[in-house]
Structure formats: C-alpha cells, structure tokens
C-alpha cells in the first residue's frame, strides 16, 4: 500500500504525510523494503540506522496525531553521504582511518534536516574522504550504478546518487569539491545541486578541501533540490565562511520559464579531445530544446578553461594534505600502536588511508613545500583568480552557462583505477565551478550509448554566485521539457525490486 509512494519526490511525500495519505512509519518501511531488495547489488549504503529512523518516523506520526505543524520534509526518508557528521551515528568518510568513530556532536546538515522533519535513514557510500570520481576508492566494496551494475555510479557522492536513482530514498545529501555531486548525478540520472561557496554551512561535513567543498542535495526532481536548499542554506555560527544572505523563494523560482534567459555556450569546450560523441549529441540536443523554449543561446569565452584541472589538483591536494593532518591516531580513529611516536604516526596513517588519499596527501605536500610553493601553490592561486574572472566576464553576456557535466556517460568498474591522471582529467567540466565558488546544477538530459549499454547523461547549468534561483528556474523548466526522462527508471527496478 505504501509501496506506491516509493519513487515519488520528496515534496510530494511530505504532502502525503501531512495530508494523512500515508504514515511516516509506513513510508519508511516501504523505502527500507526497497533498500533491502536492491542494496545487495547496488551497495549504496554504508550504515542503516533502522532503530533511529523508525523512532523519527514514529515521532512525526505522533506529532501529526497531536495536530502539530509538521516540517517541510516531515516523514521523508533521507540518506546522508558518509561525510556528514550525525551525532551518535557511525561516520567514517569511507575510510579505515575513521573506523568506529561515532561523533560526539551534531552536524549542521543533520540538524537542519531533522528540524525539517526528515527521517535520516543512514549513511551513503562515497570515495574515501570524497577523493575520487568513481566510488572505487576506499576499503569498502564499490557502489554499482543502478542503471547498469557493471558501471560505476560516479563519485565521490556515488552512494547518494545511486540510492536516489534506485528510489531507495527520494532525497540525499552529497558534497561537491570538484564535481562530486554533479558527476554522479549525471551518471545515475538524477538531479544534483552544488550551491555557491558559502551558501551552505560546512560545519559537520568532514573537510576535504576547505575553499572548494560545498554540501548539496540530490533528488529525482529539481523542485526537491530547491526545497532542500531552502532548508540547508543560511549563516551558521559554526562556519565563518558561510554567508549571511537571505535565501530567496527557490520553489517559486522553479515555476519560471526558460524564455527570456540568456544561456551561455562555451563552444571551444565541445571540441575537447575525449568528449564522447553520445554525450556531445545529448548536450546539443539539450541546447536545441532550450532555444526552442525561448532561451537565447549566446557564445561565451572561458580563456583559462583548459587550466582548471591542473589548478584544481594543486589547490585541492594541498588543502587535503593539511585537512588530513589531524588523522594522527591520537584523539580518534585508527591507530597502530608503537613505542615510538614517529613510527606510530607513520604506520597509523599509512594503514588508515587508501592509495588515492595517500597520493593526494603526497601531491599536496609536494606543492606546499617551501621550495616549490611559489611555482605550484602560489601560481595556482593566481590562475584560480584568472579562472574566476573568466566566469565573471562571461556572466556579463549571459544569465547562465550550459555545459556537459562529464566528458563521458560512464565507465566500467575497475576500468580507470590504475590511471589517476585520466580520472582527474575527466573533471574538466566541473572543477572550474568550484574554483570560482559558483552554484551549478546537474539535471538529467538524456541517454548515451557506452558500447552496447545505455547510460544517463546530465546537463550542467552554472550561475553567478548566489544566483541559485536562476538554476532552479532554468533547471525546472528544462525538466518540464523532458517528461519522458522522469518516466524511465533503471531496469533493475523493473526486474523485481519494486
């Protein structure tokens, strides 16, 4: 009976609970059934808090029975990437380094979600410390793409994307440092938002690269992203970089039209070597649809577009090396005891961190050393300004920029694990946004063939800082232009899970 609600969007579910169409408890159980049916294959979840979730659902139902006003997400099952701190819930960042760590404080995201009535189901898989684009980094088994289990779900918020794609939850939270929400959203055929830097608190989100990290929602529908951002956004006394700006009515923005919007197109990037033909066709189709809907397509230049990946990997690895210095085995987490402190440090860290994390710590340390600082870190900070200025100049000509999310629709598990540089280079469309601190949305825009298989492809829309409303206006309008996409579900669901 409640099973029919599985697959509906978050706002719709909250309304159903508020109206008494379904209880929060039944809604939770229906989603838990879906998880137990499919997660053996998808492996999106790292921790399920059945007891806690049932208690929260019961509390929502009790509040409703008492006639209390319910929160905007009351009774909606939500999953959190394992990077988010939830008091009392194992939080591991998919790293052996944090094995067994149960936070003794509440993170801002978990708190705001709970205050809105959301039922926190558990923690979702990710690349270790959010470093990766495939969900293959870390000690745990990889997540599989619900659209094709041989393929990666993308990363690092792969679990968050896969769980939504498999309709295990209608809404999840991810984090995006260089594309970690948008790329898995694209691979898994869901919508994902990377907010402006400073729009959402970083307190309670385990740091990877402080000047780039942002938390954001992933969902089946753009409007659910708007709802979630309204709840997550706003100043936080625990984060000095979080901005005290009013959050506009983003759900109202979702009712806007594409007509009258100027959409910037950086044509040079479409000539990129490695841009898959199917992805390019899908993107061109999306541009054509937007033009048809009344958007004006204008050409823009991003002169330092090609430098973004190099710039990004200097900056993010340096910040990561620094942020991960606290994992020394003394105050929390993994430790290999030794009578010599230096040996204890080196053994604990070597066995606690996986390969990709170690690689980035080494690279970050390399670029920060006193004798190479100016040539690498210092220079990258200056290139970052040039990249940011490119966007500022481009936005003088357009309201939004449209681009592919990833050069490919997806790749097979294991296909790229031995080529870190190739993996880095595939972030080419997403990292510039983080360097400039801009908001960007990934919305499903079609499918592309990868060999014999067919996988979803996302469209990226980028706006000036704190202009998320433009993304919702265009993103929701685009979604309305492509209703068939919402009808198509991963074959896995048809097969039996549902």
């Amino acid at each position: 009976m409640a099973a029919e609600f599985v697959g509906m969007g978050a706002a719709r579910l909250a309304a159903a609970v508020a109206e008494g169409e379904v209880t929060a408890a039944a809604l939770l159980e229906a989603h838990l059934d879906r998880i137990s049916a499919l997660d053996g294959e998808v492996r999106a979840w790292r921790h399920l808090d059945l007891e806690g979730a049932r208690a929260q659902a019961a509390a929502v139902d009790a509040a409703r029975a008492r006639g209390e006003r319910l929160g905007p997400l009351a009774g909606v099952p939500v999953g959190l990437k394992d990077i988010f701190v939830v008091e009392g819930m194992p939080t591991q960042c998919s790293s052996r380094m944090l094995e067994g760590w149960v936070p003794g404080y509440q993170g801002t995201h978990a708190q705001r979600m709970r205050e809105a009535g959301a039922v926190l189901v558990g923690k979702l898989a990710m690349d270790e410390f959010a470093m990766g684009s495939s969900n293959e980094n870390g000690p745990d088994p990889s997540v599989h793409n619900p659209w094709d289990l041989d393929f990666v779900p993308g990363g690092s918020s792969g679990g968050s994307a896969a769980a939504v794609a498999a309709r295990m939850v209608p809404l999840s939270l991810g984090s995006d440092t260089g594309g970690s929400i948008r790329q898995p959203a694209s691979f898994c055929g869901v919508a994902g938002l990377k907010p402006s830097y400073g729009r959402v608190s970083r307190a309670g989100m385990i740091a990877f690269a402080s000047s780039l990290d942002q938390a954001g929602p992933m969902a089946l529908e753009v409007e659910d992203l708007a709802l979630a951002l309204e709840l997550l956004a706003g100043a936080d006394p625990k984060d000095a970089s979080c901005v005290d700006l009013p959050v506009p009515d983003l759900r109202a923005a979702c009712r806007g039209e594409l007509a009258g919007m100027r959409v910037g197109l950086h044509r040079a990037a479409l000539g990129l070597e490695g841009l898959d033909a199917g992805v390019r066709a899908c993107f061109e189709d999306a541009i054509a649809r937007m033009r048809e809907a009344g958007a004006e397509i204008v050409d823009i230049e991003l002169p330092h577009f090609d430098a973004a990946v190099a710039c990004y990997y200097v900056l993010c690895t340096a910040e990561a090396a620094s942020n991960l210095a606290r994992y020394d085995g003394l105050r929390f987490g993994h430790r290999v005891p030794d009578a010599d402190l230096e040996v204890q440090y080196a053994k604990s860290r070597a066995s606690g961190f996986g390969d990709e994390v170690k690689r980035r710590i080494m690279l970050g340390t390399f670029v920060l050393r006193a004798d190479s600082y100016e040539a690498y870190y210092g220079r990258a900070m200056k290139v970052r300004r040039k990249i940011a200025e490119d966007y500022t100049a481009a936005f003088a000509r357009c309201d939004l920029i449209a681009s592919p999310v990833s050069p490919v629709a997806g790749f097979r598990l294991g296909e790229r694990v031995d080529d870190p540089l190739a993996m880095y280079l595939s972030d080419v469309f997403t990292v510039g946004v983080n360097l400039a601190g801009l908001p960007a949305l990934s919305v499903p825009s079609g499918f592309a063939k990868v060999g014999e298989r067919e996988l979803p492809v996302g469209l990226q829309l980028i706006a000036p800082a704190f202009e998320e409303a433009r993304l919702f206006r265009a993103g929701a309008a685009f979604e309305r232009l492509t209703p068939a996409l919402r009808e198509r579900v991963p074959p896995l669901l048809a097969k039996g899970g549902a």
């Binding site: 988010f84 701190v85 939080t91 960042c93 944090l98 760590w101 936070p103 003794g104 404080y105 993170g107 970083r202 307190a203 309670g204 989100m205 385990i206 740091a207 690269a209 402080s210 000047s211 006394p237 625990k238 984060d239 000095a240 970089s241 340096a318 910040e319 090396a321 620094s322 991960l324 210095a325 606290r326 020394d328 003394l330 105050r331 929390f332 009578a339 402190l341 440090y345 340390t365 920060l368 050393r369 006193a370 600082y373 870190y377 900070m381």
Partner: protein, 476 residues
C-alpha cells in the same frame, strides 16, 4: 678576543595570552588551572567536521595592544596554517598569521628615551600541554590550553644587552596588564619569551648568525640565558668556529644553553593561507574607536607626574599599575595637592592595602575620602597624628573623615587662649627643666611639646604650641 670584543645583538619573540573568556576560534571556555581535558570541545580536539570561527574579543584585545605599541594596524590581514605533527597540536597545524599579520612596526618603550622597535605582531592559537612519564615510556596530553588566543610580538634585532631584554619584558608586562589585554603572568605562562641572540665583532655592521633560545619564562632566566648564549657564541668565534643557526634551550642549574636542533633539521612548515577563514578586516571607524578608548599609557603618565613636580621615584611608584595612577589622579581631582596625595598613596595607603592583601580596585578608601583627610590636615583641622587615626578608621569602614574627627574628638586645638593656660601650667610644674631650657638646653623643647600633647590627647596644634613656648622662654 673576549666577550667584550663582540657586540651583543638581541631580538625578542614574545607570546602573550589574551584575556578572553573563550578560545581564539571556538566558544570553548578557557581558564587556567582546570583539570586536564576539561576545557575542550569538538573543535579544540580537532574532531572531523569542525571549523574555526574567530573571537571578536581576541581581535579587540590584540588591536588594543598594537595601538598602544604604535604599530601600523593592517586593514586586511589573513590567517595561515603552520604544519607540524606534534601530540599537543590537535589539527596537525597551528592557525597563525604568516605573511599578512594584523600589525606591523611599532615599538616597546622600556626606559625613558629607549624603545625596542618591532617587526610585527600577529595573532595565533596556542597548543596543548604534555606531561611526560605519566607511565613508563608514556606521555599524557592535556588539550585545555589548545586553541587559547595568543599574540606573538616579534621585535627587530635591536637590543644590545641582556639587561635591556629583561627591561623590555617588564615594561611589556606592565603594559598588557595596564591595558587589560593579558594577565601577563610569566609563571602561569600567559607571557612567554624566546630570544634571538647573535654576536658581531665591534665595529662590524653585518649581523652574526643568530640562535634562538626558547621558553624563557622569567625575567631572571631571560637575562641569564642571553648571557650564557653570548658566552657560548664568543667561545666558538674565538676558536675560529662558526655559529650554526640553531634552536637553543637554557639549562638553569648549569647556567648554559644547549642546541635542541639546528637549521639543517628545521621543519618545512608547509605554510599556506587558512582556507577556513575569510580575511580579517579592521574597519577604519572601528580602529578609530579603539584608539579613542585607549587609556593614558605609562610613559605619558609618568611624564605628566614629573611635570607636576613629583620625583622620579614617586612617578615610578604611581605608574606601577594603571589603578594606582588612576586613584592618584582621582585624589588630585578631588582637590588634594599632588605631593600630599602621592605621599599618602605610596605610604599609608599602600601599607594598609598590602597588609590586607587588597588590589587597588578594591580600595576601601575612596579618592574623595583621602582628599578630604588631606584637606583636613591642610586646614589645620587635624594634625598629622590624628590624620593617621582618621585614615585607619575610614579604611576600616567606620565612616567619612569629618564625621570620624567629630565622633572621636580628634579636631585640632588651635585656640591660643586655651593652649596658653595648658602651657603655663606645664611650665610651672617643671621649673628645673624650664631653667635648663632657658640656659640653652634646646633638647628640652621637645619634652615640653610632648607634655602639652599628652595633656591635650594629641590634639594641640603643634605650631601654636611652639609659638607659645617661644614666648614663654623669652619672657623672664
């Protein structure tokens, strides 16, 4: 060559803990003396997901100090991360200011006409504390102090003696207490000093290689350690050996310095701008308000007292701390003369406060009351002896001075007619002594004055008594 063939060059790096209630980057309370690991919170412990948020009061206090030292305050400064792995450093880095400190230049005045020029002052957070040997081969870390707010004052290498170095530190301690910026307690570690020491042959301008002596936590040790390091370096140079840039420790018992580590194994701190914190901006209007709110500083106050005719000694005593001078100013404001006010404050009042172990701010005698006592003396209403009694009574909380004079009948008797009778009576009672006095035994004057005082229970106006005695002696 020997030590005096070289010129000693000293620069100081002084860490001063700011007197805030919470830590520099988190609202965790901070006070010394707590049980280990009871002044900690998720940020202090470096728990994943926590972030620094700067304390406005720390910024205010740091600014106040920099303004008082005449530094150039920077409208725009930035925090940086300084990395090293150390058990008492919970994040693996210290948040400090590197190439963009909030204050540059300035100087610490330390003697009339002398000041130590500064390179910069920056804000930074403190580390925790380690207790070695809590068990065999095991150390225990306490994070209470981790994250406490500090300013580091970095001087130019401009001192020429160890004594001056100690003098600088004393002046700085006086100033930070004066401003309410820090407790300035070297024993408790709220004021800590490192000294950079180098030698150069006299007449040579280029600086010699410097060594940094760490953790000199008393004026005495600072002075002694600089002396010991200078001797060590002179010995090396005399033997034709080079001084190697090193970090030194001072061993008190042996009165010598030893190398903790040399430049070769100096760490690479991987400095870079702290990405969790936006730049620190000090608005011009706010800075003006802070400058406006500065109290009169010790130097100008001392000069003002000298100009008012007080001696060097008096001026020094009155500027030992801000409350004493404030009190003095208030007494003068209430009408007392500077010299009389000063004498009372550094004499009678200081002794009484010391006996009761009271701080100046808790003084039971108000400036107006002390001024009133002084006025009563000057108006001849009471004499000096009675004034002390009145003071004691006011100090004990027995009431206002004039009231006490009346209640206790301490008013001075200046009435000539009344005293004439007393004097005549006493002279008559001691004819032999009177004859001796008249015969030139001047000492006996005091005897007669004493007798009159005794008779009047101390209330007789001594000047009137003297005059009456003069008249009686002359009369024969």
């Amino acid at each position: 060559m020997s030590l005096h063939d070289y010129e000693l060059v000293v620069g100081l790096e002084i860490h001063c803990q700011l007197a805030t209630r919470s830590k520099l980057f988190t609202d965790c309370p901070f006070d010394t003396g707590g049980e280990p690991n009871t002044r900690v919170d998720p940020f202090t412990l470096g728990w994943p997901g926590t972030l620094p948020v700067p304390n406005a009061e720390a910024v205010r206090l740091a600014t106040r100090l920099a303004l008082a030292l005449d530094c150039e305050l920077q409208a725009h400064s930035r925090f940086a991360r300084k990395h090293y792995f150390y058990p008492d450093l919970p994040h693996g880095y210290q948040i400090t200011q590197a190439d963009a400190p909030y204050a540059k230049g300035g100087a610490i005045p330390f003697a009339p006409g002398k000041a130590l020029p500064l390179e910069r002052i920056h804000m930074e957070s403190d580390a925790g504390k380690t207790t070695h040997g809590v068990r065999e081969g095991v150390s225990g870390v306490d994070y209470n102090r981790a994250g406490a707010p500090l300013v580091e004052i970095v001087s130019l290498p401009a001192l020429r003696s160890a004594k001056d170095a100690a003098e600088v530190l004393r002046s700085l301690r006086q100033l930070v207490r004066w401003l309410g910026v820090s407790e300035g307690d070297m024993e408790k570690g709220s004021l800590r000093c490192d000294a950079n020491v180098s030698l150069r042959p006299r007449g040579v301008e280029a600086l010699g290689t410097r060594c940094e002596i760490k953790n000199l936590n008393s004026f005495k040790f600072l002075e002694a350690a600089i002396g010991a390091e200078a001797r060590r370096q002179a010995d090396l140079l005399d033997r034709g050996e080079a001084v190697v840039q090193s970090t030194m420790a001072y061993e008190v018992d042996a009165d010598r310095t030893w190398v903790m580590r040399s430049k070769e194994d100096a760490a690479d701190y991987l400095y870079f701008p702290e990405p969790d914190l936006p730049p620190l901006r000090l608005e011009a209007a706010w800075l003006d308000a802070q400058r406006e709110a500065l109290p009169e500083l010790p130097g100008p106050r001392r000069d003002r007292y000298l100009a008012a005719g007080l001696s060097d000694y008096d001026a020094e005593q009155l500027t030992a701390d801000r409350a004493t001078g404030d009190y003095f100013d208030a007494v003068c404001e209430a009408g007392a003369g500077a010299k009389a006010a000063c004498n009372w404050i550094i004499g009678e009042l200081a002794a009484a406060m010391k006996a009761e172990k009271l701080e100046m701010v808790a003084c039971p005698v108000t400036p107006a009351q002390l001024a009133e006592i002084i006025a009563l003396v000057e108006a001849d209403t009471i004499n000096g002896r009675a004034a002390k009694q009145v003071f004691e009574a006011v100090f004990a909380g027995e009431g206002a001075p004039r009231e006490i004079v009346e209640r206790k009948g301490l008013g001075q008797v200046s009435d000539r007619a009344a005293l004439e009778a007393v004097v005549a009576e006493i002279l008559a009672a001691h004819p032999d002594q009177l004859a001796a006095l008249r015969g030139g035994k001047a000492k006996l004057r005091g005897f007669f004055v004493g007798q009159v005082m005794k008779q009047t229970r101390g209330r007789a106006n001594p000047q009137v008594v003297q005059a009456l005695l003069d008249a009686a002696i002359a009369e024969r």
